[in-house]
Amino acid sequence: MKIKRILALALACMMMLTACGSNETETETETNTTTENTQTETETETEEEEVEEYTGPKDYRGWTTSRATFNPQMYTNSKTIMNAGTLVAALAENDELVWYPHHASELPTTTDGGTTWTVKIREGLVWSTGTALDATDYEYTFKMLLDPKLVNKNAAYAYDPVVIVNAKEYSQGNANWEDVGVKLVNDHELQITLQYPASELDFYSMIGSLIWPVEEETYEACMNADRTSTTYGTTLDTTPSSGMFVVSEWVTDGYEKFVRNENDPLVKEGWVKLDSYTSRYISQNATRAEMFWAGELDNHSLTGDDYLQYKNDPRAHSLLSANVWGYFMNGASKNTIMQQKDFRNALHYGTPRETICEDVYKLYPAAPALISTGIYAGDGYYRDTEAGKAIAEKYATDYDKAVELFNKAYEANGGQPVSVEYIYFEGQEDQKRQAEILQEHFENLFGSDRFTLTLRACPPASAYDLYRAGEYDLGLGVRLMGNVFNPWSGLNVWKQDYADPYITGFASDEYDQLWFDCMYGDIATDTAAKVEALAKMEELLLDYGCFVPVMQNNNCVMYHERVELATENYLPFIGFSTNQTDLIAAA
């Protein structure tokens, strides 16, 4: 009897514990949403008045999942940029992206069509340590960034895609510093010479915005004896700041705090509203979600069901990814059916990308083309151009066409049942489900008696090694587009002379020539011609069938009611420009 009583008691306790869980979550969440929406509707006018009046502390409470270093030559993310100044700042003004001189006293200018650039540095700039910041700091920065012994990860910013004369050669130990196209004219002026002419957009977005200065005194103090490594930016003491914010506190993998830099020219001009920005290291999405709903964080990334529930909430804002995920197709595979272009195209048209996005990823939109909607080309988004739209329409999902192409390939292959292997990443439940959807869909579409898709799980690194070796048929993955303003740069991975290719069998002289023309040739500064060329390059890749685009991994961020963003529109490169965010109420 006693045992029964104890068991009953334990069971009751567990039921109570369970009751505290899921059911209450749903009820609470629904209640919160309703309440918040009602409040938003009924209190708009009152809030507007309060916005004007709020003069309390403005500490933004953000989060991050990693903080490797504050050395701007080794690591990049938006928070690193926050405390590091640049020659040119990308800012949001009237819901548009504007380029504004930051450490430069005026926007860099060129007199010979984009090859030689003059950069004038403001007077009176200072580091957070109190030492003066001038053109000599930038010259030193370039020298250290490209130092062959240091092997800095961001060295390529000086030669890819905008090529400073002899920068790459110097970084590889094949040139002297005197031969590099960075010359100090005087303490407040630099002259930068490029190997190929660059447009203003390219120069501002690369050299202007991605070369963060380092402070010589600290950098040298942190250097080891044989000058092969520096611990600059690895602790608070070794992290001087020169940006709109100064790093004031930092516990590695714990939290970091930035305070407004009153000496910064953009702060003086009123571009920055926040007093400080505190960022906690929170790796668990569930913790972030609970903290956000409890009002302890000012933003939170929505995922899965949360996204479906709140995607239309005015506080939710979509962030466009620069990348399109899909799967590589190996036209050079030993599997003869893979060598058939019609077969590869059949897979492209037959891929149920819309179903995959709806059933699995929820947050990600389907993408029928290689270049994402977050990529800028010239004056606007590439996918909004006529050429970009035409490609997306031409390669949109079309099951009838897929079956037609498959039938042709099937006959050409001798009418024998075909089997191909699809590699996906191990341990990723979403990608496993994507693979299973593909498997079921293709076998239904083409007939399971004629087509079999076998699935193979691989760790991501092993999968990419197989793509490099060409030992695969189909393989999930992505080629990252590094620069949102220069899609041509990221498309170099499909060139025949690219040093680290994934084998797909694609090789096109026409493609290579178009790439060169856009990057460094006759049309390098002709935006309209480059957009047309970009569409042609995309068409060549899709027509061959080396990669099947599936989805664009967008993000959706929900902001606290007290956050007033600097722009309502998502802007390339700066997103919603966190540096310019304002807080209109207390936490």
Binding site: K2, I6, A68, T69, K153, T287, E290, A499
Partner: protein
Amino acid sequence: MLKYILKRVAAMALTLFIILSLSFFAIRLIPGDIAGQGAAPELKAALEARYHLDKPLLEQYVIFLKNFLSFDFGESINLYPRRPVFQIIRDKIPTTLQLNIFSLALTIPIGLACGIAAALKKNTWVDYAISAMVVFNVSIPSFVFATVMQYIFCYKLEWFPFLLELEDSSFSLSKFWSMILPILALSFGGISTITRYMRAELFEALNSEYMLLSKSKGLSKLQSTLRHALRNSFIPLCNVIIPMFMNLLGGSMVVENIFGIPGIGSLTSASIQTSDYYLTIAVLFFYSCISLTSMLLVDLSYGIVDPRIRIGGGKVRE
């Protein structure tokens, strides 16, 4: 005894060397890209040259050993670029240590008390309740405890902060308050383990013949339990409790991630995932040192707890 310790230390050094070598070769077998996906090929080549990865494996091993023996443990490649790996581990230990000390201070007395109570009240409701608690704790992973506690006590009831307080480097009441949930999450497993061992050992001791003898000599139940049964029950517990002390230096990845604790717990997996070779080896070496030292201490403790066990003694004289 000293001779025995020296022998064991020498064996430890050999074991560490083997672990170090195996780690070196095993990590090289893991596929990965030290430059990260999407990195320029020339950067990848330059980084491989910098870290000697372009050389034959045996040559890499010789360079690695040479550096290691001169106490140059290398620098982090990806996780904390250019930061010496020794410094990374050293910086993370205090937070982990602080938390684990509190956890242990809770785990040992509660575990012992529950184990003793269950053994003394065997087959009563006390025993059943404690056993149910043990089964509950053992069968539910710590991350579930941590998540549920965070949800209930931080989100719903708002009694505790979500994350460990880090803003104040000195120890304060508010900081301790923020440590309570992680301490509890870390303690449940240990409490159950100690309770289980203690209950089993003490129950066996209570039913042994020397307990009958002690009672017949006129000792009360309390006296005989405290003087004889408990002491004998502690011998096997050395195997459990001493490694717990050593594990003060090791963190829990899951609990640290959930409560935002910048400890050492997630260093191993993170360094492997990012192909951070030197950091991975250093962390494995660190954990190996802890394990081997705790094993040595466990063996030595037997002789202290139970005088009948003499370690490292010479041949038994006829």
